[in-house]
């Protein structure tokens, strides 16, 4: 098991926004978490990456406990997080954004190969290296955010709504990129409002409602579940 969450509870002040969630990710798997607005999807990802300490429960990554570690330590263990809203560093150039993404890579040689990999995936970034990241269009920014996360050479990549605000054409492209990344052996947690796309990409899925997991199972099966169809696929 790559990642295992046991009975996780998270609070903002007195409000409990995640209530006893358990979740698993195995090697090379894509799972997706879908759910309505405010269900707590983002919160779960923030807890895994150490940005929001949980109130109780624990999180295990490759057989070591990571809940309680700080965010930058967790990244070093191999979990990357593409946060909601991209969060690229607007006043820095694309190249500098990538350099910061490559912060954990120590040798020059490794860095070069890593960059080469990135450019294979996102040739457009190579053209934009000198441009300020803030002046990229939304789609390009999303690519930059994913590229930056990949530079950490994660075993597990978490993406929070990667299709948000992207044009349909680019959404398709992001979908291809996700499969591609997964094909290289990286596990992925995909949080999406676009449940249709998420379920088509993922192997397994969790449905979150008001901080509780109400359904979980094979993505294909869930896509045909009446409740899911009704609530999340607009069917």
């Amino acid at each position: 098991m790559l990642l295992k969450i046991n009975n996780l509870t998270i609070q903002y002040g007195k409000a409990e926004v995640i209530k006893g969630l358990s979740l698993e990710v195995s090697e090379k798997e894509i799972i997706t978490i879908i759910g309505a607005n405010g269900a707590g999807k983002t919160t779960v990802l923030r807890a895994i990456s150490g940005l929001k300490p949980p109130a109780s429960g624990d999180i295990w990554f490759r057989d070591s406990k990571i809940s309680g570690l700080r965010a930058h330590e967790i990244v070093r263990l191999g979990i990357s997080h593409v946060p909601e809203g991209r969060r690229i560093l607007a006043p820095l150039s694309v190249a500098e954004n990538l350099e910061i993404g490559a912060y954990l890579i120590k040798t020059k040689r490794e860095k070069e190969t890593a960059f080469q990999n990135i450019f294979d995936h996102f040739p457009v970034l190579k053209e934009r290296m000198k441009q300020l990241a803030g002046s990229l269009s939304g789609g390009e920014q999303q690519m930059l955010a994913i590229a930056r996360a990949l530079l950490n050479q994660p075993r597990l990549l978490m993406m929070d709504e990667p299709s948000m605000g992207l044009s349909p054409l680019v959404v398709e492209q992001v979908g291809r990129i996700i499969t591609d990344i997964n094909n290289r052996g990286i596990s992925i947690i995909l949080v999406e409002q676009n449940a249709r796309m998420a379920l088509s990409l993922a192997g397994r899925a969790y449905v979150l409602e008001a901080g509780k997991c109400v359904l979980e199972g094979e993505a294909g099966a869930l896509a045909n579940d009446e409740r899911v169809k009704h609530a999340y696929l607009g069917g």
Binding site: I34, N37, G165, S167, P168, G234
Partner: protein, 254 residues
């Protein structure tokens, strides 16, 4: 006579031409969609209409009055409301206060009377409280009127942003990606709301990447690409337009 007329508008940021010679019109009581790839200049166009930027060339007319280059609050005062692409709310205020603050344009009594808390001013304020409550009810936010805006989930923040804009009693409402980050059922609810907004007598100009929503909502659609107007027409025409499919829609089945 169109409600809003955008005439040959050009906007340049440094070396980047964000909009080039764009013209279109918005008719009274229609829902007009504005779509296009990321970076096409849609939000920039909203910024020009609502006065955050000044066009380098061209004119914008609202109800036959030129509003090009007027101040943001003047334009708002003339009856153009907008929501932003990024969630922009009074984060540290409650939901109710957010809408109540939005009612600024509602008052008729002069400010000094409000300051003196005259009877008339107090009455007006009581009315505006009711109005704020009514708007919250309309946007399905009444249940969370005392929550802080910052603590709302994304989708409710969107609704609240629209509620605030409605408080301003606009004739034209500019919505920048209102259903982004919502799942289909939420999107359907929101689309419904937008139709109801139109029924309240408000014309809507909407930017959105969710094609299901756009196609079902809009009476007409304008497509921007690389800062230029590509085509304009009914949803059916746009769906089948080869240039739009190439630049924007892709092979996606709608």
């Amino acid at each position: 006579m169109p409600l809003l007329l955008v005439k040959n508008v050009t906007k340049v940021f440094g070396a980047l031409i964000a909009l080039r010679d764009v013209s279109f019109e918005v008719n009274r009581l229609e829902i007009l969609g504005l779509i296009g790839p990321n970076g096409a200049g849609k939000s920039t166009l909203f910024n020009l209409i609502s006065g955050f930027h000044r066009p380098d060339k061209g004119k914008i007319l609202f109800k036959d009055t030129e509003i090009t280059g007027l101040r943001v609050d003047r334009i708002a005062g003339m009856g153009i409301g907008r929501i932003f692409q990024e969630p922009t709310l009074f984060m540290q205020e409650t939901v109710f206060e957010n809408v109540f603050s939005g009612l600024h344009r509602h008052y008729r009594e002069p400010a000094w009377k409000a300051f003196l808390h005259t009877r008339a001013a107090n009455r007006e304020e009581a009315v505006s409280r009711e109005k704020a409550a009514e708007i919250l009810e309309f946007m399905d936010l009444a249940a969370m009127r005392d929550e802080l805006a910052a603590n709302l989930p994304h989708g409710h923040q969107r609704s609240l942003a629209i509620a605030i804009a409605l408080a301003c009693e606009p004739e034209l409402l500019l919505l920048d990606e209102p259903v982004t980050g919502m799942n289909p059922s939420e999107t359907a609810v929101m689309s419904d709301k937008i139709r109801q907004i139109r029924e309240r007598g408000i014309t809507v100009l909407i930017v959105e990447h969710d094609m299901r929503a756009v196609m079902s909502l809009c009476d007409r659609i304008v497509v921007l690409n690389l800062g230029e107007k590509l085509v304009e027409g009914t949803p059916d025409r746009i769906k089948s337009d080869q240039r739009v499919i190439e630049a924007y829609l892709g092979k996606q089945v709608i």
